[in-house]
């Protein structure tokens, strides 16, 4: 078995794609998505990026919807551990590579960290232009009018955009990018982030990236504000946090509870409160 499962040629090719993606923030780079022991569409894009950049000194964290303990996250973490023998962690601060599905950790990321997103649909234009060739042309031309019209129509009919996740962002004032299905709540965290952010779509064979300290702005009209989810004053039932993304959980009696979606953040908050 080779280190990090993929053969060296494959890793080289993926790294080359990553470098190109970093050089052109938000631009979608094709790569040869390899077969993995996981079916495509189950995080293979993020997995291949992680496998291509990981080495013995890294500390790995894998989350699925903010949770370190979900089946998907556990299996991916175990797999990477079994082929690389790197240390794993659930601590956001300690981790050097964080592979994530559909969330950005609540805790602010730091320089030197890499956030790897699993992406189902890499091209944001997919929603308005199904033809791949035309999508490329629109990107080349920076013609995002169709996304704007979508925003216009939502605004005129509903007062605001109806997009709850995968909110389109403009990277470095040039490319419109799909931030993967992170909630609208996380969109603003991409901007000027200290960590390197890599996006991999295994099924669609695409890689793109946001280098550290890059301008990432949600697509919005100049005279309209960008609003994120609000939780109507609810706070986390476990740690009491009022400024984190909350999950709505129904218990057996049908009572609604609100808990932090990011379990590591919630644990840390509880620890801090317990210490006091």
């Amino acid at each position: 078995m080779r280190y990090a499962f993929l053969d060296e040629e494959a890793k080289k090719e993926i790294r080359r794609s990553i470098l190109k993606a970093i050089a052109i923030p938000g631009y979608i780079v094709s790569f040869a998505s390899r077969e993995l022991p996981v079916a495509r569409g189950w995080g293979t894009g993020g997995l291949q990026i992680t496998l291509a950049i990981i080495n013995e000194t890294d500390k790995l964290k894998v989350i699925d919807q903010g949770c370190d303990g979900s089946v998907n996250a556990v299996n991916i973490r175990n797999f990477i551990k079994s082929v690389t023998d790197v240390d794993t962690t659930i601590d956001t601060k300690e981790a050097t590579i964080i592979q994530t599905r559909h969330r950005v950790p609540e805790m602010e990321l730091q320089e030197g960290q890499t956030l790897v997103f699993q992406v189902p649909i890499p091209d944001i234009l997919e929603t308005v232009e199904p033809n791949l060739g035309k999508q490329k042309l629109l990107h080349a031309n920076a013609d995002y009018s169709k996304l704007w019209v979508l925003l216009y129509e939502d605004t005129s009919m509903y007062g605001d955009s109806r997009i709850s996740n995968r909110y389109p962002v403009m990277v470095n004032k040039r490319y419109a990018m799909d931030p993967s299905p992170i909630p609208k709540y996380d969109t603003l965290k991409l901007n000027n982030c200290k960590a390197l952010q890599l996006f991999g779509a295994g099924r669609e064979k695409k890689i793109y990236a946001i280098p550290p300290y890059t301008n990432v702005m949600p697509l919005k009209f100049e005279d309209k504000d960008f609003s994120v989810e609000n939780f109507n004053g609810h706070c986390c039932g476990k740690c009491g946090s009022t400024h984190s993304f909350l999950d709505e959980v129904y218990d057996d009696d049908g009572v609604v509870n609100y808990y932090c979606n990011d379990t590591d953040y919630c644990d840390k908050e509880q620890e801090m409160k317990g210490d006091k």
């Binding site: 216009y152 129509e153 005129s156 100049e222 005279d223």
Partner: protein, 278 residues
């Protein structure tokens, strides 16, 4: 001079050296006898001044619409140069729009020129609402303020006599004439310098035709853009244009003031055309 076309040709097919010489009105054919290419537009020179309205008439297949598409860059000319006053290269000199790159092209098509097609399906996006269609053009010309975009859409819908309460309806729920008027709203919403009209009223009933022509004429007087209108309906040409060119087999066979051409046609083909008004 807002538009200046020099020796513009468009050939569909192989394009041999004999194509342009052996076709045209004097040969009564658009097909090159040597290589069988179809010559759509054959060595056309055309100029348009600020605020001028030019009509292009001719039989079907004479290259009228192709000529218009060459200006709007729906198709690339095979030969020649096209200059537009407002369009300059990086060095500040007037630039041939045939050499324009993608970004410049989108600027040309969104801010300088607008096209109104015979069939509103070509000019409108039926997946967007009427307001959305207008918004698309306004956004492409650089405005990113919601309220201004909305107001502009309302303004032009009102101008074209579409009930403003229907701004969020989709084009397919409008009648043919209304769709055409939405297309006109869209085309005008970016404040174009040149408006290109490809048989804008063909296929509409007479009362709607008259309304749309009046509307175009009125807006032209009010806003003062230059206009090129292609039609085989001499009534439309007479009603709207200052000067007229007559095309046959890809060539311009006669040009002059519209009254002059209609009252005193010189070229045999023009005479035939004028005499065959029903």
């Amino acid at each position: 001079m807002i538009l200046d076309m020099k020796n513009v040709s468009k050939v569909f097919g192989k394009f041999c050296s004999k194509c342009l010489e052996t076709t045209g009105a004097s040969y009564n054919s658009s097909i090159c006898p040597t290589c069988k290419s179809v010559v759509g537009v054959n060595d056309v020179n055309l100029t348009l001044s600020d605020g001028e309205v030019l009509g292009i008439v001719g039989e079907s297949g004479s290259g009228k619409s192709t000529l218009l598409q060459l200006i709007y860059q729906d198709q690339k000319a095979s030969l020649g140069e096209i200059f537009i006053k407002a369009f300059k290269g990086r060095d500040g000199k007037e630039k041939n729009i045939l050499d324009a790159d993608l970004n410049e092209l989108s600027y040309l098509r969104n801010s300088i020129m607008s096209m109104i097609y015979q069939n509103p399906r070509l000019g409108l996006n039926y997946k967007f609402s009427a307001g959305g269609n207008i918004a698309e053009k306004v956004i492409m010309s650089g405005n990113k303020k919601y309220q201004e975009i909305r107001d502009r859409a309302l303004y032009f819908l009102e101008k074209t006599e579409i009930p403003v309460s229907r701004i969020d309806d989709y084009p397919e729920y409008f009648s043919g004439g209304q769709q055409q008027r939405i297309q006109i709203s869209k085309a005008l919403s970016s404040n174009p310098k040149i408006l290109l009209l490809d048989e804008p009223t063909t296929g509409l009933d007479l009362s709607v035709q008259a309304k749309i022509l009046d509307l175009i004429k009125e807006l032209q007087h009010e806003i003062g853009f230059s206009m090129i209108i292609v039609s085989h309906d001499l009534g439309v040409i007479k009603h709207l244009t200052d000067i007229t060119v007559v095309m046959k087999n890809g060539q311009i066979v006669e040009r002059g003031l519209t009254d002059q051409i209609l009252e005193d046609p010189q070229h045999p083909y023009t005479q035939l055309l004028v005499s065959s008004i029903l």
